[in-house]
Symmetry: C2
Subunit: 373 residues, 2 copies
């Protein structure tokens, strides 16, 4: 079931873990932040540029690729790696998160979720079996189980029902997946903000002995304190010898908080999305390049950064690009933001190795300005 | 007046010339196609990528940079080269073409042209002196004289009046420019579709002994046969020992026709603009990536091309990127189109050296499908 995926924890500093995942597409040093390439491209970036900054894995989206261009087309193209010119690791989500986000356009049954395409209104059905079939065609190194990411707030009865269905769906995913040894199937813990349900979910999915587990249904609108409280309770319920992935988390503060509690993997559209809105992540907090005070500021986005954008361009130039509607603005800000997070994760890994994670966190927060949320 | 610009013709094949311009920013092998970076960026491209494909000079626009971000800001930034991270040659136009394109938003007098900004409606005046002042601040290697690019059709009296004013403006440009030895000022021949006026224009501007001359006011909507007839008459009226630049021309057929008549320099937004509309220039003619027949076509845009896009991506992938609204489509198509034209010009230069320009033209047209127009 684990295919060729291996995982080892080389070092611990408190609960923070310094590990390494290896698949046939190479190693993934953890803790890791995975850039998102929703539609088979990390927006505004050439894959070589994503590699150059050190990314060893990216995430791509089953829902989007299923609808357009279609998973069979990508299979014909030789799989997602070849199709999109990325020869390192790819994790695909299951499509669950997206179809549940469709609101009135979808309907949940025991069988799966029927929904209407956001592109052309056509009707489709995603089931555990279908999600595995699509991800098998894509040929990702890590595929995610089909789950319901329940909304916040939701009452205990709803979450209990939803979580148990997600557990049954996971069993069906495992059965559907048994023939694809080269792709690792990860299970997803749900249970909303209810610790008893989180516990039950963890126990049921751990029993399936999958090669990795993620925590879903957090960072869905709940207060930060509640999120961290649930996370505190969750992490140790997952098998210590397997990678732990906190889904949809990608601001610097949440990455630190997650690592501190023993999370190994993260993904988020945040760094690439905010780039297209003119926002840069810097060691001194967020910077809005649209701000008039950068009009004649000839310093780089972040004086402490050595990314391509910071080595070659001024805030004044990037601001001009943004105001003038040039794609170059999004290209440079995306490069910078991804480089910023990937470099931060590299520093976090080094800090764990040096047993000074909390010290590094404190130093980082002192400049960055504490929590974003 | 010529600053540090030198030009030599190393070889002739018929009227076609193989030459070299050298400025303090390095050599420019001619005949050359200059990619356009209107607002201080070649759209969707990093400068390093433009260099890698062999570009030795790009064009940038005075009108746009004057209005946004402003030439004084670019001067403060250390000049346009540094501002936009381009260390090879830059040619700037004079802004004339753009302000004359504004229609009702501009008014011509002997002094210059008053106009309203297309961005915010603010009022401005461009004069020969102002155009030189702006280009001096930008620090381009070649600056263009302020001229009127007259419309087509226009009667003899209008063109005569306009052409003579452009000649008087050129004298004022030369006077204003005398102190900027490092930047070469090029004069512009006008005269519409009237050979007597083209002759008069050529004589008057040649008398000023400038380091280079361009032909303006062609490719402005006139029939192709008329354009080529005027071009036939024009080229030899310009000094043979100076570079000759045909403004605003950039489709493969016009480039061949221009080179055949002794043109050394060309520019056009065509390859970068059509890229953003899903069009590729290929050795077998234009290709519209939106076409449904490319949906499952896993071959490259042009099987004879070795650009980044053709080495790594299929038509199917680029089509998906376009349909999905991913900037990657414009990035790959722009890369391809610029590479296509720059490689074509390299082959043209080699053909002239080998005294087989017309043969190469015939071979190219046989595959490409003849004239675009």
């Amino acid at each position: 079931m684990s295919g060729s995926l291996t995982f080892q924890v080389m070092k611990k500093d408190g609960a923070a873990r310094r590990g390494r995942i290896v698949t046939k597409h190479g190693p993934i040093e953890t803790p890791v932040f995975m850039p998102v390439g929703t539609q088979a491209a990390v927006k505004c970036m050439r894959p070589e540029q994503v590699k150059e900054m050190g990314a060893q894995i990216i995430l791509s989206n089953t829902y989007h690729l299923y609808l357009r261009p279609g998973h069979e087309l990508i299979r014909e193209a030789g799989g997602l790696h070849r199709y999109m010119n990325w020869d390192r690791n790819i994790l695909t989500d299951s499509g669950g998160f997206q179809v549940f986000s469709l609101g009135k356009l979808r309907k949940i049954t025991e069988e799966g979720v029927s929904f209407q395409s956001h592109i052309d209104g056509s009707r489709h059905m995603l089931t555990p079996e279908k999600a595995v079939e699509i991800q098998t065609a894509l040929g990702s190194d890590i595929m995610m189980a089909f789950d319901e990411c329940a909304p916040y707030p939701a009452d205990h009865a709803y979450i209990e029902d939803s979580m148990r269905r997600t557990c049954r769906w996971l069993e069906r995913c495992k059965t559907a997946h048994h023939h694809t040894e080269e792709q690792a199937l990860f299970g997803i813990m749900q249970g909303g903000m209810y610790k008893d349900l989180r516990k039950e979910s963890a126990e049921r999915i751990s029993d399936l002995d999958l090669p990795g587990y993620s925590i879903g249904g957090l960072s869905v609108g709940e207060p930060k304190e509640l999120m961290l409280d649930i996370l505190d309770d969750c992490v140790d319920r997952l098998p210590a010898e397997k990678p732990r992935y906190l889904m949809g988390v990608g601001t610097p503060d949440y990455l630190f908080e997650g690592v501190e509690r023993g999370i190994d993997m993260f993904d988020c559209v945040e760094p690439t999305r905010i780039a297209r809105h003119g926002l840069a992540m810097t060691s001194h907090g967020r910077l809005n390049i649209k701000n008039a005070r950068f009009e004649r500021d000839f310093s780089p986005l972040d004086p402490e950064c050595d990314c391509y954008a910071c080595r070659h361009y001024s805030r004044a130039y990037i601001r001009h690009m943004f105001k003038a509607g040039e794609m170059m603005a999004a290209m440079l800000l995306t490069e910078h933001n991804l480089h910023f997070l990937i470099t931060m994760m590299k520093n976090i890994r080094q800090a764990i190795e040096d047993e000074r994670f909390l010290e590094y966190k404190k130093e980082f927060y002192a400049k960055y300005g504490g929590l974003d949320a």
